[in-house]
C-alpha cells in the first residue's frame, strides 16, 4: 500500500536524517581539511571541507614538536597501563563473586553498588590523592578509576554464564582457584575481556578532568590535557591556566592545532567499528540495569 505520498514522506525522512548526520560528520571533515592544508591557506580562511594546497607539513611539524609527541606518548602509556590494571582488578573481583561457595557475596555486592550512587565528590578525593602523595603521578589517573562498578557488574554477569562444572571439576582435580581463573575462566572469556578493555581504554583516553585536577607537571600531560590548554589559551589568552611557562604558549597556528586534534582523535576513529558494536551492547546492559 505504498502511495506516492508515502514515498515523498520517506524521502523527507531520509533528508532530515541526512542533515543530522552531516552535522555530526562535517566538523570532523573540516578539521581533517584544516590539518592537511598549508598554514597560509588556513590563516587566509580559505579552507572549507577540502584541503587547500594539500600538505603534510602540519603533521611533520608535530612530529618535530617535542611537547605534542611527549603528550601523545604519555597518553598511550597511561591508557595501556590503566587498561591492564583495571582489567586485572575487575577480573579478580568479578570471578569470586560468581562462586556460590563464597560467603558474604550479597554484602560485598552492596559494598560495590553503593559506590555507583554515592561519592565524596571532587575535593575530598583531591585531598586524599594529595595526602597519599599521588599528585603529579600517573597513579592519580589510574587507581581512582581502576574498578568501575558498572564494568564489574557486566563482567560478573558474563562470567556467571559459564557452567559451574568448569570450576567444580577443576577443584576436584586439585587445581587452585588462581589456576582455574587463569587457565580456564579467562581463556573462555576473551570476548568480554576485549569489550571491557575497550570501555576502560576509551574512557581513559578521552577523560582529562582528573588530569586538570591532579597534574601540573608537563611530563605527565595527556594529549587531551594539552589540547584543552590549547583551546583555553585560544579563548582566554589573558588567563593564567597552569603553572609552567609552556602553558602560556603563543597562539598555535590553526593548521598545527588541527593536526594535533586529528592525532588525538585518530585512535578513536581507527577503533570506531568495534567501539560502536561493543558500546551499544554496554548501553543496553546499562539501560536494563537502570
Amino acid at each position: 500500500m505504498r502511495t506516492g505520498k508515502s514515498r515523498v514522506e520517506s524521502v523527507l525522512i531520509a533528508a532530515v536524517l541526512a542533515f543530522a548526520a552531516a552535522l555530526c560528520l562535517l566538523p570532523i571533515v573540516h578539521e581533517i581539511a584544516l590539518s592537511l592544508s598549508s598554514n597560509e591557506a588556513v590563516v587566509a580562511r580559505e579552507v572549507g571541507l577540502l584541503p587547500v594546497e594539500p600538505t603534510l607539513e602540519s603533521y611533520r611539524q608535530i612530529m618535530r614538536d617535542g611537547t605534542v609527541m611527549r603528550a601523545l606518548g604519555f597518553s598511550v602509556y597511561l591508557t595501556v597501563l590503566f587498561t591492564g590494571i583495571a582489567m586485572l582488578l575487575t577480573t579478580i573481583c568479578a570471578y569470586p563473586l560468581t562462586r556460590p561457595e563464597l560467603r558474604g557475596r550479597r554484602g560485598i555486592m552492596t559494598f560495590i553498588v553503593i559506590t555507583m550512587y554515592f561519592s565524596g565528590g571532587i575535593l575530598p578525593l583531591y585531598i586524599l590523592i594529595k595526602t597519599l602523595g599521588m599528585l603529579n603521578t600517573e597513579w592519580s589517573l589510574i587507581l581512582p578509576l581502576a574498578v568501575s562498578p558498572f564494568n564489574l557488574i557486566i563482567m560478573r554477569t558474563s562470567l556467571s554464564t559459564l557452567p559451574d562444572a568448569l570450576t567444580e571439576s577443576a577443584l576436584i582435580d586439585g587445581a587452585s582457584y588462581f589456576q582455574i581463573l587463569r587457565k580456564i575462566i579467562v581463556p573462555l572469556s576473551l570476548p568480554i575481556i576485549a569489550t571491557l578493555s575497550l570501555f576502560y581504554a576509551v574512557g581513559r583516553w578521552n577523560t582529562f578532568q582528573d588530569a586538570v585536577f591532579y597534574i601540573t607537571k608537563q611530563a605527565l600531560w595527556t594529549i587531551q590535557l594539552k589540547l584543552s590548554y590549547i583551546v583555553l589559551n585560544n579563548t582566554q589568552p589573558e588567563v593564567f591556566i597552569a603553572e609552567g611557562a609552556e602553558s602560556r604558549l603563543s597562539i598555535v597556528p590553526a593548521a598545527l592545532n588541527a593536526a594535533t586534534v586529528m592525532i588525538a582523535t585518530l585512535p578513536i576513529l581507527v577503533a570506531y567499528p568495534w567501539l560502536q558494536r561493543y558500546f551499544i551492547k554496554g548501553a543496553m546492559i546499562g539501560s536494563v540495569k537502570e
Partner: protein
C-alpha cells in the same frame, strides 16, 4: 559429592577480592568520610581529623556567597535548557530511524550519529573553536560571505548559553537513540498490522503505537534527567566556558574546582559539592514519586 578440600581453597577467593575492594574502599569510601571537612575549619596542615569543628558555619558562609547562587542558577539554567531543548532530540531521531526501510542506510545514519559520543570534550572544544569562533570560525566565515554579520557564538553570554546547549545535544542526541530504538523493537508487530488493516498511515501508527510503546522509557529517562538537573559534569562547561561569558558558564562543578583546587578553600568547596548532592537526591526522589503517582512508572 566428592568435592575435595573446597573449603581449604576458599581463602583464595577472598585473596582475589582483597585488592579490588581495597581500591574501592580507599578511592570511593574514604572520600565519603572526607565530607566531614564541610563541617570543619579545615586546614590542609592539620588534616581531616585534626581540624577544628565548625558545625554548620561553613554552609552559612556558602549561602552568603553571591557567586554560589550564580553558579547554582547557571547549573539549573544550562541543565534546564538541555532538558527542554534536548530531551526530544533522540526521540525524534529514533522515530525517524525507525521509519527507514533500507537496512544499510539506517546503519550508516546510526554510525554517523553515534560518532560525537566518542569524542572527548577537549576535541569537541577544539572543533567548536574552529567552527564557531568569532573571527576564526568557519560558520562565521560562511555567514560573512553570505553578507550577514558575524555571530558571537562563544563570546556573548546570551549566545553562549545556546551554543553550549546545542553542542551538548549534538554530542548526545544520536547516542540517546539507542535506548529508544531498543524499546521500539519490543513493540508487538501485530499492532502495526492491525492498524494497517484499519487504514492507519505512517504518522497515525507512529502517534498511536510507537510513541505509546516507548512511553515508559521516555518517563524513566525524564525522571533521571530531572533528578540530574542540579548535577553537572566538569569537562563541558570548563572547556567551552571563558572569561567573557563567565556570568553564565560558571556552574557548580567549575565553582567547586575554583574554590578548592585553585583557591585552597577546601571546606567551602566541599560544602558546595555536598549541597549539590543532597539537592540532587531530593530532586530525583521527588521526580520519581511524581512519575510513580501519575503513571505507575518508577526508576527503581
Amino acid at each position: 559429592m566428592t568435592r575435595r578440600r573446597p573449603l581449604e581453597q576458599l581463602w583464595q577467593l577472598y585473596a582475589m577480592l582483597a585488592l579490588p575492594l581495597l581500591v574501592l574502599f580507599v578511592f570511593s569510601y574514604l572520600p565519603m568520610l572526607g565530607l566531614v571537612i564541610a563541617f570543619e575549619d579545615f586546614s590542609v596542615f592539620k588534616g581531616v581529623f585534626g581540624s577544628k569543628w565548625a558545625g554548620l558555619g561553613v554552609f552559612a558562609e556558602v549561602f552568603k556567597m553571591k557567586t554560589f547562587w550564580i553558579a547554582l542558577r547557571n547549573t539549573f539554567l544550562l541543565n534546564g535548557l538541555n532538558l527542554a531543548l534536548g530531551f526530544v532530540a533522540p526521540i525524534i531521531l529514533a522515530l525517524l530511524l525507525n521509519e527507514l526501510r533500507s537496512k544499510p542506510l539506517k546503519k550508516f545514519f546510526q554510525s554517523t550519529l553515534y560518532l560525537p559520543h566518542f569524542l572527548s570534550w577537549a576535541i569537541i572544544g577544539s572543533l567548536a573553536l574552529q567552527l564557531l569562533g568569532d573571527n576564526t570560525g568557519l560558520v562565521n566565515d560562511v555567514i560573512a560571505r553570505l553578507g550577514g554579520a558575524r555571530v558571537p557564538f562563544l563570546s556573548d553570554k546570551g549566545h553562549w548559553v545556546f551554543t553550549y546547549t546545542f553542542i551538548g545535544i549534538w554530542q548526545n542526541a544520536g547516542w540517546g537513540t539507542i535506548v529508544y530504538l531498543a524499546a521500539m523493537t519490543g513493540i508487538n508487530p501485530e499492532l502495526y498490522e492491525a492498524a494497517e488493516v484499519d487504514g492507519a498511515d505512517r504518522w497515525r501508527k507512529m502517534w498511536s503505537i510507537t510513541i505509546p510503546g516507548i512511553m515508559p522509557t521516555m518517563i524513566v529517562l525524564l525522571v533521571i534527567q530531572i533528578g540530574r538537573l542540579v548535577s553537572i559534569g566538569f569537562e563541558q562547561p570548563y572547556i567551552l566556558g571563558n572569561d567573557l561569558v563567565k556570568g553564565y558558564s560558571e556552574v557548580i562543578s567549575t565553582f567547586v574546582y575554583q574554590l578548592g583546587i585553585m583557591s585552597g578553600r577546601f571546606n567551602v568547596g566541599t560544602a558546595v559539592g555536598m549541597f549539590q548532592s543532597v539537592v540532587g537526591l531530593v530532586f530525583l526522589l521527588a521526580a520519581n514519586a511524581f512519575a510513580n503517582r501519575k503513571t505507575g512508572t518508577s526508576i527503581w
